[in-house]
């Protein structure tokens, strides 16, 4: 009897709470969040004529020497399912993947200067990393400059404009937003 009474109270409380917390709370948050219209809808990136070409928060695949390229992604930035490689960094499979990427990058960037930054060789956690390190962006400059007939200085300036700094200088790392950078390149 005692158990039945508790079960019946449990059913009723779950229903009441589902209404309050499952419908009421998200609805109130959704309404209040309209104070931030860009953010609620995914910080969409648009071209000058208003066409949506992505999100400032979600990385994209860019192919071709004339574009700055994003980090490796196990899902090729499809956006349907996020995730990464789950490889141990000391495993043979990870070493092999890094060697392959290194070879491909060296072949595609004959004029690049200096060592290849680690973020260029490793897959991100989400597969949707919107950023590359400033070092990797600069490393790609000779290739993009040659493909677009632009000066390295002009590209460095764009990289500076697309760099998102770590808050307070230490809450994370600086990153260059690749989609924003390429959008600037495209509209130049």
């Amino acid at each position: 009897m005692a158990a039945l009474r508790q079960l019946w109270a449990a059913v009723r409380l779950l229903l009441v709470m589902t209404v309050l917390l499952g419908l009421g709370y998200p609805a109130v948050i959704t309404l209040a969040a309209q104070a931030f219209p860009t953010q609620v809808n995914g910080s969409l990136l648009k071209t000058a004529d208003g066409r949506v070409v992505g999100s400032a928060l979600i990385g994209q695949q860019f192919e071709g020497p004339q574009w700055f390229q994003s980090r490796p992604s196990t899902s090729d930035y499809a956006g349907t399912t996020s995730g990464g490689s789950n490889l141990s960094p000391v495993s043979a499979a990870a070493t092999e993947a890094i060697a392959e990427r290194r070879a491909a990058l060296v072949a595609a960037n004959p004029n690049a200067v200096g060592p290849i930054p680690d973020d260029a060789l490793t897959a991100s956690a989400s597969g949707l990393d919107p950023h590359i390190s400033p070092a990797y962006a600069r490393w790609q400059v000779p290739r993009v400059a040659a493909a677009r007939q632009l000066s390295a200085t002009a590209l460095e300036q764009l990289i500076g404009a697309a760099t998102e700094r770590a808050p307070l200088g230490f809450l994370g790392q600086d990153g260059v937003n690749v989609a924003k950078l390429n959008l600037m390149l495209a509209t130049q």
């Binding site: 409380l13 998200p26 209040a32 992505g54 490793t122 994370g172």
Partner: protein
């Protein structure tokens, strides 16, 4: 900025914020659970539910209410997930029967292990009225149990521990809901999405296709961290830019998941009428928590970016990983499986210690009290006195119950891992062989039995055997300690408090705190060292 300075500022920031908020938050929790008044909304809820809020329960009835509520929640959530195809806002998403069972158990036990991918398994409606609701309620249940256990220590000569329905409703509506609402808006300001737009395919600059996801993410994300739940809206969890877009939101999420567990020792000190007890407990949590955090940061400072996001980098990935495994959260902003072997080992060890630094919402406090009882008992044996804790004698009943609460997780972890590795059906789920493969399975069972929810996610966990075995571990890992601790508290409440004498061993001193740390490390060390040696340590040495 040099890496050492950055690391120092990082830990300093988290420590400073927690130091500032734990007293006001702890006092607030104290008032919420000791006030005789009910709000108007609460009275209405009690009327709708049909409970009398003035009637207090014995430990056995309190436990019965916990079990009844959790059973109803599991069945309700399981059905909701299975029926989502017939409901609106399901985005065509679905789960298998066993996957849905695993998910239902997982969210109700505050584990939030996910063998499904959010983008494929759970539509907007299920995430809101199923998963978000359980994110609140499973945290509320943990909080209620912790408060009832502390009442057992604080009271004397009574067999009553409080009213579960009142504790659950108050913790949820007065603490979790307002804090989550503020946090959700802050997350939106930082870039977390909150919409009902269907996932949309866009054409990128270079002509490629990409799906931009939608969903009520911020409202779920806030309580996911605050309630130490950890189940991601998306598969990549807090590594997904829509769940955790930048350094600010990352800091906020880390602070949210540490906030309530860090404040509860203060509440405990107030309730037992001796704040020094809470101070000793919170310092033990801080030593364990910041110790693990600093160790992981150091191990990850080699700087591999595999499985990490550029905006967080190795340091803030290590901090998040340490905070999420030291609590029962299990949210991740990086892939734990891609950490350096020993850093992954520290994440495992954090969970193996029983998630005490500072633990989950409520669970951290009562799990730490288990260790305190054991430490008092061991100290009593060493000096040859009857063990006493807060004037209550710790006899064979108390020690048996505490030992049961402490031993259930290692039994589930070691037996479960062993059996799963021997059976071809589950051993085939490993993504790799050797020490790393062992760690993958060990991590899964450790995470489930300790109600954490993070994973070495290379494991293909979405298969009937693992779904059911891990659900079983989550259930026993959650409810055996709850039952044991409520029984323990019920016994202690009915004892009269003995006066403090020169022979009473104080439990608020630095030496007792040191003993408590030693007991925690030695118990976990003896239990788990062989499995860590064969997994993480062997991988690091090879």
């Amino acid at each position: 900025m040099t890496p050492a300075l950055s690391a120092g500022l990082t830990i300093g920031t988290i420590a400073a914020v927690l130091a500032i908020i734990h007293v006001p938050l702890g006092s607030w929790l104290y008032r919420v659970f000791t006030s005789p008044k009910h709000t108007r909304v609460e009275r209405l809820v009690y009327r709708l539910v049909g409970v009398n809020p003035e009637v207090e329960q014995r430990w056995s009835v309190y436990l019965l209410a916990v079990l009844a509520f959790s059973t109803v929640s599991i069945i309700g959530l399981w059905l909701l997930i299975l029926l989502q195809g017939f409901l609106p806002f399901s985005q065509g998403r679905s789960m298998n029967v066993d996957t849905a069972f695993n998910a239902a158990v997982s969210f109700v036990t505050n584990t939030n292990w996910q063998s499904y991918a959010g983008e494929a398994g759970a539509g907007y409606l299920v995430q809101a009225i199923g998963l978000t609701v359980q994110n609140f309620l499973s945290a509320g249940v943990g909080l209620a149990v912790a408060i009832a256990v502390v009442r057992g220590l604080a009271r004397e000569g009574t067999d009553r521990l409080g009213n579960f329905w009142v504790d659950l409703v108050r913790g949820t509506l007065r603490v979790l809901l307002p804090l989550a609402a503020v946090a959700a808006i802050m997350l939106v300001a930082g870039g977390v999405i909150q919409n009902l737009t269907e996932p949309t395919t866009i054409t990128s600059l270079t002509g490629g296709d990409q799906v931009i996801q939608g969903g009520l993410v911020a409202s779920q994300e806030a309580i996911k961290e605050l309630g130490t739940n950890g189940g991601g809206f998306f598969n990549a969890n807090s590594a997904h830019p829509f769940e955790n877009p930048n350094g600010w939101t990352n800091l906020l999420e880390i602070l949210l998941l540490l906030a309530i567990p860090s404040a509860l020792p203060y509440t405990y000190g107030r309730m037992v009428g001796d704040r020094r007890q809470g101070a000793a407990m919170v310092s033990v949590m801080a030593v364990l928590g910041f110790g693990a955090m600093a160790t992981m940061m150091w191990l990850e400072s080699v700087g591999s970016m595999e499985g990490k996001e550029q905006r967080f980098g190795p340091i803030w990935s290590a901090i998040f990983a340490s905070a999420t495994t030291g609590t029962s959260t299990g949210a991740v902003n990086s892939l734990h499986e891609s950490f350096q072997p020993l850093a992954g080992g520290v994440a495992l060890l954090n969970m193996m210690l029983g998630e005490l630094s500072p633990g989950g919402v409520g669970t951290g406090l009562y799990s730490m009290l288990v260790m305190v009882v054991l430490a008092v008992f061991i100290a009593g044996l060493m000096v040859g006195r009857t063990p006493e804790f807060l004037g209550k004698s710790i006899g064979s009943r108390e020690v048996t119950l505490a030992a049961l609460a402490m031993l259930i997780a290692p039994v589930l972890v070691l037996l479960g891992t062993g059996v799963a590795l021997l059976l071809p059906v589950s051993a085939g789920a490993l993504s790799t062989t050797g020490p790393h493969g062992l760690s993958e399975m060990l991590y899964a069972f450790t995470s489930a039995a300790n109600n954490n929810g993070s994973a070495f996610a290379g494991l293909s966990a979405d298969q009937p055997f693992l779904n059911i075995a891990l659900a079983f571990c989550m259930l026993l890992g959650r409810f055996v300690p709850i039952a044991a601790m409520l029984a323990l508290a019920g016994g202690l409440a009915s004892q009269q408090r003995r006066p403090v004498t020169a022979g009473t061993m104080p439990t608020h001193t630095a030496s007792f705190a040191g003993l408590l740390i030693a007991v925690i490390l030695i118990l976990a060390g003896l239990t788990y060292f062989p499995s860590l040696a064969l997994g993480s340590i062997a991988e690091a040495l090879s």
